[in-house]
């Protein structure tokens, strides 16, 4: 599904990843883990084509990551960022921006699974907690039903109960998806089927 060979990645003129190789298969839950500043988030950016490896290559579903294939590669992905302070009023507006307003039923399913109700997507982001906001963003992205789901520090604003619910969703609802995450959280790392130390 995803194969990286001898890649080196720089971010802000600093070489953060050197000579890394990994393979991630369909249905895997792979987690990049390791100390801060080692390039875990940079790897997720690289998989989306926002950072280009200076050496080596990356293939996603046999498509090499390059300008010709990037649109097709991104169409396979959903991405939940670490920074959820997006400049939008609420989840409903964000859903429209993603051109996914028709996926409300899916959003409702995932938002319920994460312990909230659909009405929450109408709540102003500046009036709800970081954890609620993060769960809304996660539900919106999961509703897109993409083959590859990228999570950058998904537990950063979640309590242990919400982390458990999210892990249940991944285990039960995303068996046929490839989940790739970057995390510090030991519970999250331990739940991954493939752990890649960075």
């Amino acid at each position: 599904m995803i194969s990286a060979k001898n890649i080196s990645v720089s971010y802000n003129n600093t070489n953060v990843i050197q000579n890394l190789s990994f393979d991630i298969g369909l249905g895997d839950h792979a987690c990049f883990f390791g100390p801060s500043g080692r390039g875990k988030s940079s790897l997720l950016k690289m998989l989306q084509g926002y950072l280009v490896p200076s050496t080596g290559y990356v293939k996603i579903k046999d498509m090499e990551l390059n300008p010709v294939n990037i649109k097709n590669v991104r169409s396979l992905m959903a991405y939940i960022p670490q920074n959820i302070n997006l400049p939008t009023d609420n989840g409903s507006e964000l859903l429209k921006m993603m051109d996914a307003s028709k996926r409300v039923e899916k959003v409702e399913y995932f938002i319920n699974r994460l312990g909230m109700s659909l009405e929450m997507i109408e709540s102003r982001f500046d009036e709800i907690s970081g954890g609620q906001k993060q769960r809304i963003v996660i539900a919106l992205c999961l509703s897109l039903d993409k083959e590859i789901v990228l999570f950058d520090e998904p537990t950063s604003s979640l309590d242990s109960n919400s982390i458990k619910k999210l892990l249940d969703v991944i285990k039960e609802d995303m068996k046929d998806k490839t989940v790739i995450s970057a995390s510090h959280n030991s519970e999250w790392i331990n739940s991954a089927s493939k752990k890649i130390y960075i």
């Binding site: 989306q48 084509g49 926002y50 280009v52 300008p67 990037i70 649109k71 991104r74 169409s75 992905m77 959903a78 991405y79 960022p81 920074n83 302070n85 997006l86 400049p87 939008t88 921006m97 993603m98 051109d99 996914a100 919106l140 992205c141 897109l144 990228l150």
Partner: protein
């Protein structure tokens, strides 16, 4: 019409003490800009008086068109400077956006609405185009500043939408919406109160020049509609053309400010 003497004109400038005092008191670094703008305005308008007389006398299609092109180039240059973009990268796109827009708007209003026998008549073509371009430039600067500031400062949203929607068109949409809102809202607000709290310059000028209020109002309505259409067209064309320049082949936002430094 009562003339203004040169001494009276000079006396009129003393009122600029108000903005000068405000800028100095609040330490807003606009004093130099104000002085340069006033001097430029005086020089340009007196020059206008000289060359407009000549242009009106000649009333030649080629000269009038050339003058239009010069107005577009100056407008595009001012826009690049005010939005703090790179000349080499953005000047040509903005000139092209301006030329396309003014051609369409002039063809429609002068050719189809006013239906002049001679389309290039300097008395119509130059002041009407000047009003459209002048107003468009102001609103274009506001809109483009909002667009480029948004892309520079809120990149996370762009990348979030780009991956999750898979479409760059979708990813830039919120920034374009914001640019249109910020660029054109003041004009819509102005339109809605025109005649109540503001008497537009063109209408006032026509009435002072002896036209009937009804004729002056008809022209004013037409020119405001033309300005709104022209502003929208120039802004959207400038943004769409810029989009070919501000993203790399992966759809990443180039560092607009560093492009500036590198090329200036």
């Amino acid at each position: 019409m009562a003339d203004i003497g040169f001494w009276d004109l000079a006396f009129g400038f003393t009122i600029l003490a108000i903005p000068l005092f405000v800028f100095i008191y609040y330490k807003v670094k606009l004093v130099n800009d104000l002085l340069v703008s006033v001097i430029r305005m005086i020089a340009q308008l007196f020059l206008v008086a000289v060359y407009l007389e000549w242009i009106f006398e000649m009333n030649n299609a080629l000269i009038n068109s050339l003058w239009l092109v010069i107005m577009v180039i100056v407008g595009a240059g001012t826009t690049v400077y005010r939005v703090k973009l790179n000349w080499k990268v953005f000047l040509i796109p903005f000139i092209i956006a301006g030329l396309i827009s003014i051609t369409i708007i002039d063809l429609f209003f002068i050719g189809l609405v006013i239906r002049l026998d001679y389309f290039f008549d300097a008395r119509y073509l130059i002041p009407i185009s000047g009003m459209i371009l002048g107003n468009s430039m102001n609103h274009n600067i506001v809109g483009l500043t909002a667009y480029f500031d948004g892309l520079s400062k809120s990149k996370e949203l762009y990348y979030f939408i780009l991956t999750n929607s898979g479409s760059r068109k979708q990813a830039v949409r919120p920034y374009i919406q914001e640019a249109i809102r910020k660029g054109l809202n003041p004009m819509l607000a102005n339109m809605s109160v025109v005649g109540l709290i503001s008497l537009p310059g063109m209408m006032t000028g026509q009435i002072l020049g002896g036209a009937t209020p009804v004729t002056a109002i008809k022209y004013q309505i037409m020119i405001m509609v033309a300005i709104l259409a022209g502003c929208t067209l120039i802004l959207i064309l400038s943004i769409l053309y810029s989009n070919f320049l501000v993203f790399d082949s992966y759809g990443n936002i180039k560092n607009i400010r560093s492009i500036n430094k590198n090329n200036n």
